[in-house]
């Protein structure tokens, strides 16, 4: 199979990369009608599979689950998940031939095997849905020409997809139709109906393409979302230990700090996050993040270039073929870091203290979000797509770090994200070595404001605020966040 993106002429590459339209709610007026009475079969009953299925059934659609024979015979968790919620469960052979829509919600790595098993069983004119386009775009999977291929990708973990639906809301969702596989022209109607069935239409829907989704998703996850959060966390922890900060305190500050800091990001964007700092601290964080952006820009660009050329997916798939040798090695190394092995101390850290004593992470996040966004947009991805794959998802990933540190983050994210995260981390740490030598505890571990009188230069503060608020990620962010009116605080600590 050849990389699909690389087979396209340049104008078509640019055309598909540049698809991102924020949809008006009137586009969903038909509700789930296009899928009413159709047989919908979901493959995979993990967090996304089960929760999406529960939502779709509660929206009046006919849902059943196709599982592999072994999963049924051995009564694995996926089988229990589906049967205990009273869904019909059957093998591929039993359910796929009558399906009007097959929804593939298995992990990326299994897509080729799953699709190869399912496609011959699918009836003429049926539809196949993905939640991530890697298999189509990077692996170049060819789907039978009579089959309609769509994508519906909720931009939140499966448990949130269910929770928000039952609260009467939904999570932001990206939908797409594969231009090579829309023989009857019903792709968009199906994608929209499916999206309504999960509640996504209430929280903002982005009309995208398989190509734009893959190229932006890969970029976001390996740079700002996972890679930089990992590098920044480890470097911050090591610096505090080097400077004699109590290890328990350092561990807690790092583990929960990203979550508290990005909670501000979620509600008010980069400027909202920076506004949580005192004026002198904000100016300092601004300066530090400018320096970080200069240092890391070539690395971000390299990642984007390798994603665009297919180099990244090629080397990753080689590792898949090699029994995940590199992935497993890097995973083991992450498990051995001092941060991972030091439990969070039993100390109380107030919400504000996470900002005041962890200015370095604020700077890392501003630098990472803006760099990822800028690099994507320069590569032809639309600001809306770039926003979702950078700023929007950062708090979600930060939440996994707060749960069980980096190990948990790497366990929860997709296999492509985990591989890309390690790749970034390996390159980024040496890149920041000189920078980190200059960092002291005023940036991480102690209150930056201590011993300062809070005075700043008027003009400098105005300039800094202006630069922060006028960044394109802020401009598009204000528009998109408005559609997600009911964003809820994730309550921890």
């Amino acid at each position: 199979m050849a990389n699909y993106f690389n087979t396209l002429p340049l104008r078509e590459q640019l055309n598909q990369l540049g698809q991102a339209e924020f949809m008006d709610s009137s586009e969903f007026a038909d509700g789930v009608d296009a899928l009413k009475g159709k047989k919908i079969v979901i493959i995979g009953a993990g967090a996304q599979g089960l929760n999406q299925g529960l939502n779709l059934r509660d929206s009046g659609l006919d849902i059943s689950y196709a599982l592999r024979k072994e999963a049924i015979e051995q009564k694995r968790d996926s089988w229990k998940n589906a049967t205990e919620n009273n869904f019909t469960v059957g093998t591929y052979e039993e359910l796929i031939p009558s399906a009007d829509l097959v929804i593939n919600l298995t992990p990326d790595k299994q897509h080729t095997a799953v699709v190869n098993a399912v496609m011959p069983l699918m009836k003429q004119g049926a539809a196949l849905s993905y939640s991530h386009g890697f298999n189509i775009v990077e692996e170049g999977m060819q789907i039978r020409k009579d089959i309609t291929v769509i994508m519906v990708a909720p931009k939140c973990p499966g448990s949130e997809v269910r929770a928000e639906y039952l609260r009467g809301f939904g999570v932001p969702t990206l939908i797409a139709v594969h231009p090579e596989n829309d023989p009857e022209g019903k792709g968009w109607a199906y994608a929209k109906a499916y999206c309504v069935g999960t509640g996504g239409h209430r929280a903002g829907v982005l009309k995208s393409s398989f190509v734009a989704e893959v190229k932006s998703d890969l970029m976001g996850e390996q740079t700002i979302l996972c890679g930089l959060l990992q590098t920044g966390s480890i470097l911050s922890f090591d610096k505090m230990i080097e400077k004699g900060i109590d290890p328990g305190y350092a561990s807690k500050l790092v583990q929960y700090g990203v979550e508290v800091i990005t909670e501000a990001l979620k509600h008010g964007g980069v400027s909202g996050m920076m506004d949580r700092l005192s004026n002198p601290a904000k100016i300092k964080a601004f300066e530090v993040s400018e320096e970080l952006k200069d240092i890391m820009r070539p690395l971000f660009q390299k990642h984007q270039d390798d994603i665009m050329s297919g180099e990244f997916s090629k080397t990753m798939m080689e590792d898949w073929a090699n029994g995940d040798a590199k992935l497993l090695k890097w995973r083991a190394e992450t498990g051995e870091t001092a941060f991972e092995k030091t439990p969070a101390g039993d100390v109380k850290i107030s919400e504000q203290e996470y900002f005041d004593n962890y200015l370095l992470m604020v700077a890392f996040i501003r630098a990472g979000v803006e760099l990822a966004f800028e690099t994507m947009v320069e590569a032809g991805i639309k600001p809306e797509s770039a926003y979702y794959e950078s700023l929007h998802e950062t708090p979600l990933i930060a939440n996994t770090i707060a749960r069980k540190k980096l190990f948990e983050m790497n366990r929860v994210i997709s296999d492509t994200a985990e591989y890309g995260c390690y790749l970034f981390d390996q390159a980024c740490k040496p890149l920041l070595a000189d920078f980190m030598k200059k960092v002291d505890t005023d940036l991480v571990g102690k209150n930056f404001n201590e011993g300062k009188d809070g005075a700043v230069d008027n003009i400098q503060l105005v300039q800094v605020n202006e630069i922060l608020r006028n960044h394109p990620v802020e401009v598009v962010g204000v528009k998109l966040r408005k559609a997600m009116t009911a964003m809820k605080a994730i309550k921890t600590v």
């Binding site: 205990e84 009273n86 929770a163 039952l166 009467g168 749960r403 809820k488 309550k491």
Partner: protein, 488 residues
Amino acid sequence: MTNPVVHITNLNLHYAGQPVLRDLDWRIYPGENWVIGGKSGSGKSSLAKAIVKQEKVSGDIHLRFTAGLTLPPVAYYVANWYQFTNLEGDRNFYYQQRYNKHQQHDTLTVYADLIHFGQKHQLDFHDAEPILEALGFDNCRETQLIELSSGEHKKVQLVQALWLKPQILILDEPYTGLDRQSRRQLNVILDRLAAEGVSLILITNDNDIPASINRFAEIADGKINVVADIAAMAQDQERRPKPFPYFLQKAPTADSDTIAELRDVSVRYGEKTVLKNVSWRVRKGEKWLLQGPNGSGKSTLLSLLNGDHPQAYANEIWLFGRKRGSGESIWDIKEKIGIISPELHWYFDKHATVWHAIASGFYDSIGWFLNVKYEEKKKIEQLLDFFDLLEDKDKLLHTLPLGKQRLALLARTIVKNPPLLILDEPCQGLDRSQTTHFNAVVDELSAYGKTLIYVGHYESQLPSCLDRRLVLEKGEVILNERHTFLTT
């Protein structure tokens, strides 16, 4: 004279700029067991939290523990709600979560939670077993916390406290959601603890209290006011009758004579049977009382009617003339039902103001809605006025006294004038006059052609319109009758 166990002088507490407790003085002597009552919002819980240092106050609180007793020298407070977290440490729950089955556990089991508590306080699990048994809670050991009903959560809290046997035990609304049997058992155990030397402080407006209670007080104007007994405590003012909003005087439209019908419905998980062969028909205009002990299946039954339970798809259930699982969405069902339950209240959106909470009733969402139309805004205003909530409309719902929160959620429940009202223990945590007020509203509402299902444990606290009753025990219907006991 002996020294007091609790000695409070000059206690002051402000909340949102308003004084709650003012120069409060209070002494509790050995052998005294107190009930603290009084109006909701008077500062009872704040005082309790101050004693266990969970509330920042000015003034002096001195606790004197007796050395040599086997009872641990601590003051222990049982809050009115159980604040548990999921395994990842957050509390982002939704009220229907307990019905969605997922292999990956979200929360600890009751057993694991108790073991954890026991380790923290160095307790022997053997001592917890008789308490579990007495409260009829023995069969819930392997149940996850998220799967428990509100009455069962109360039991988890009580088991912990009774097992710990602290020298000073403060229970905030300990009877909330408990069935009659458990409530009697609780009082028996509390009397035993008092005899062993535990100083009890109960915050309640209830009449059925342990025999060992020998002192009574209420909080009025920020001070402790000692009174003779419960009856002497001030109640919230009787409600001034107001004209019922016009839009609620119209009978809602329902296109089917049978509102809900369950035919031989069973729900079970592995070994555990939650409902067994339940058949029940609710016709238009009927007013049902649904009763049964904690864990008898009431909440599950109601969740089947409200579209909240995935097992509805595996059973024969007819709602408003349509069979469940025939292509309807849960939003089609919820549109016709107004529901209030302790769980819905408990997990309600913490960012919602009173106005938002009521408005969300039009969309059956939890505190969230699309653009509210002009006529809808007018209805919200009328209800705010009717429930005396106008001046609270922009406040966050969860910051109001419990009684007002319940009224706001009742307003949310009726704002769309639904054909079917499901009121699941709506008066939990309300005092007598608030309950009377609440039930008077329900009676008035019911007069206009609504169908009602009401869950309540105590017959003295029910609306008078109820004319039928269904009683569950261990998931089975043991009584289905026209009921007349209210008039006798």
